[in-house]
């Protein structure tokens, strides 16, 4: 008689948002792996319809509390490209600085509060804090500096409200940015310490086999702009996204999985960025990667925590560079006249590629919007990885296997509330 084991985790306690994973093992054979992400109700896409294009950055910023800047940036990129506007260089640099703040906060949260406890055998950050308070304080300190950058540049108290189509409502003076320098220098040291810390963790052996997709912008580690590239030779603009990527409904799942039409499942996020763009990291970040024994491409998703930490170093370093070279622009924004048609925008959210598409009428009213968050794009890769982990480690007992599956999911830093824009407590039980 076949022994059937069902490993389920209904609540991924430390994943942002909610999700449920079911794994069905039949006599050691993996029968079914499903990370449950629910059918996106597309609430925000519906909310955008009929609104002015100028409202898009504010509305989309509210989709995710962790990565509002990513949503704003992809939105303004899409609308500015449609309207034929190129923002002034200081504005672009200011946006990149704001985005660095978001990377610092998001990566610090994920590395310290969510993922590191997995590697160190703790149920969560609270237990880790009891034994290693200095490490957790270091993580909270990093997060705080990221938040300070976002508050100052993004005008954020509740949501970053300073970003607008064409630029910013108000651009800070050089002097106003100065108070960020000392905290960022401290954060950069803490980030270097973070790389050394996580490099010493034990990493289960896994290899990503699908295509890696990231933005690429020669001359810089792409964050707020770039062409969409893959390690298999894809090289397209945001406007060509829908020709090459599709969202498909997966049997037995409510989720839409993104796939490359020609190539299937793909992965975006830190591993893809590092593989495609490592040469554009700052010397300090590259040195930190080298000391951590990280070589490009790094294809072990468990080592994404190391890549994320290297990106933390980079984001601090880059923020300091941007502040150093910043000159207050003559005008905080470029006037933008609406143009009827389709606009396409992408940027690198902390967890990967974020795609926006808008259709406007000649008055600037949004006729429809499409948003593809990184977690939707990575869903197929996550499930493939889970399947591999379960096959390889099926001799573990249920509790150990459950923990390893959760750790595997966190390799991708999924923002499940982003992917679903939805909360449900209806969990399938079987």
């Amino acid at each position: 008689m076949a022994e059937r084991r069902v490993i389920r985790t209904d609540y991924l306690a430390r994943v942002e948002g909610e999700g449920a994973l079911s794994v069905l093992l039949d006599n050691g054979r993996v029968e079914h792996v499903e990370l449950r992400i629910f059918e996106p109700p597309r609430f925000f896409e519906a909310l955008l319809r009929g609104r002015s294009f100028l409202e898009a950055p504010d509305i989309t910023a509210r989709i995710c509390g962790i990565c509002p800047v990513a949503y704003q940036t992809s939105a303004v990129n899409a609308l500015e490209s449609l309207c034929g506007v190129e923002v002034d260089e200081p504005i672009r640099m200011l946006r990149r600085l704001l985005y660095c703040g978001e990377w610092i906060e998001s990566h610090a949260l994920h590395v310290y509060m969510l993922h590191a406890p997995d590697f160190l055998g703790y149920p969560g950050a609270i237990e880790l804090a009891r034994d290693a308070p200095a490490a957790v304080e270091r993580g909270l300190g990093l997060k705080k500096v990221g938040n300070e950058v976002m508050t100052l540049v993004g005008g954020r108290e509740i949501h970053p409200i300073n970003v607008r189509v064409g630029g910013f409502y108000r651009a800070p003076t050089r002097r106003e940015l100065r108070p960020l320098v000392e905290p960022l220098e401290r954060a950069r040291e803490a980030a270097l310490e973070t790389v050394r810390w996580v490099a010493g963790f034990d990493f289960p052996e896994r290899l990503v086999e699908c295509d890696l997709v990231a933005l690429s912008q020669p001359g810089e580690y792409a964050i707020e702009r770039g062409r969409i590239r893959s390690n298999a030779g894809l090289d397209i603009s945001a406007a060509e996204y829908d020709e090459h990527f599709e969202e498909e409904h997966v049997e037995r799942s409510n989720a839409l999985h993104s796939r490359l039409r020609e190539r299937g499942t793909y992965l975006c996020g830190p591993l893809a960025r590092f593989a495609l763009n490592h040469e554009w990291l700052s010397p300090l970040a590259l040195e930190a990667a080298r000391e951590a024994g990280l070589e490009a491409p790094c294809l072990n998703p468990f080592q994404s925590i190391v890549v994320r930490s290297v990106e933390l170093v980079y984001a601090c370093d880059e923020a300091l560079r941007l502040i150093e070279s910043y000159e207050q622009p003559d005008r905080p924004f470029v006037p933008v006249e609406p143009v009827a048609g389709f606009g396409f925008g992408v940027s690198e959210a902390p967890r990967g590629l974020l795609y926006h598409r808008y259709r406007l009428d000649g008055e600037g009213t949004i006729l429809d919007a499409k948003i593809v968050p990184p977690t939707s794009q990575n869903q197929g890769a996550i499930e493939d990885d889970l399947r591999g982990v379960v096959v390889r480690y099926s001799d573990l007992d249920d509790e150990q296997l459950r923990a390893l599956c959760e750790q595997t999911i966190r390799n991708y830093d999924p923002c499940i509330s982003c992917a679903t824009h939805f909360l449900t407590l209806d969990v399938e039980r079987r």
Partner: protein, 152 residues
Amino acid sequence: MRRVVAGVGNAYRGDDGAGLEVAARLRGRLPEGTELVQCVDEPSRLIDSWRGADVVIVVDAVASGVKPGTVYRFDASDGDIPEQIFRSSTHAFGVGQTVALSRALGHLPPRVIVYGIEGADFDAGEGLTDPVAGAVDRAVDAVLADIKGGEG
């Protein structure tokens, strides 16, 4: 005496906005030395807001399965609040975990009161359901009473 009153939630997920609404209603009604915080992202950021405070009062929505509009009040000054009740949040790091983390790090204020408002509808959309709107009124009064009574 330094106090922090924090409302936590997501106004775009129906009743999950209850804590934010309580904070909004308290604006202008709190005594000197009280800082009002609205937290819409993830609560671990609250830890910094209450470092060095004497009292903190946190209000969040919960989905524990009881009657919608039920208002829980927990005194977390001496012990953690039931994690089960606050774990069903949309946030990366729940309020219960945030309090516990702050305690583990040794900077939880001496007085900690946590309110949980049971929600009915956490689907995407704006606005509170009727029972939760009523509960917001009661929670506002309760927070003011805590402060007036010197409890908070």
